[in-house]
Symmetry: C2
Subunit: 140 residues, 2 copies
Amino acid sequence: MLEATTGQGLRATGRRMTRTRKAVLALLERTHQPLSASEIFSQLQEADVAIDLVTVYRTVNVLKEIGLVVQLDLHQEGQSRYELKEGRKHHHHIRCQICGKIVDLLLCPLKKLTKLIEARTQFIVGDHTLEFSGLCPQCQ
Amino acid sequence: MLEATTGQGLRATGRRMTRTRKAVLALLERTHQPLSASEIFSQLQEADVAIDLVTVYRTVNVLKEIGLVVQLDLHQEGQSRYELKEGRKHHHHIRCQICGKIVDLLLCPLKKLTKLIEARTQFIVGDHTLEFSGLCPQCQ
DNA sequence: TTCCTTGCAAATACTTTGCAGACTG
DNA sequence: CAGTCTGCAAAGTATTTGCAAGGAA
């Protein structure tokens, strides 16, 4: 499963599978929510995993480099969040302005738009971000 | 023009039109680009306008509160940018991954999508962000 | 046994806050 | 003249870097 393939991804880049990397991966896997570095840190502490905040930052960056994790910068959050890619399709998010809950939007409607933008701006589009915010059912 | 209407917006909320606020507004007006606080600060210094970085932050926040300025948090920039609203339509941006140039996209294709998302998620959508990045014509 | 990884301390970047003096209306 | 605004200093939050000790392969 995930840990095995990750181990390969790490080794292929001269890196190692360690206790802390396993713990971060397992947390992201079971949480299935985009977590910030400090959330990863405190949730691992509650689970009695000894880890340093600095190590969390280094770990998510490594996982991002080998393509296992995606970094999200949600509007006006002031911190980044990290989410397992885990073979899932590219997608976007909506966040509740009251309680902060984040829900996946399992769609991306921007293929055509990308072509249009390339034609208009002469840019070569490499990436995009799309995020919605509003009130979730519980907070309305 | 802008300064006059802004003065009204300020006064309506018990605020004042000052030398530094005029300078920030004038800069945003002639630059017509989303600028970060530190860019506003250094560009005003070059123009021999004495202003403190703290004042820049406070100023853009006031201008945001009275609806004159929009705050942008572009992906992985690590800082916010501020742009004059100036009666312009809601729009989005594309940024060059090499030189950092930011170009307006004078369109927003998300009206229908918003309805779809509200139906699917039961959220009430209040806001959204959309940003593209890629290579500009000069950097390709 | 190599050299990657970790923890700790410290540094850096961006932004906010407190306070006394300066300025607007 | 009242009350807002500014500069300076300091604090706060998110993230990165340096280095020596610990650990994976």
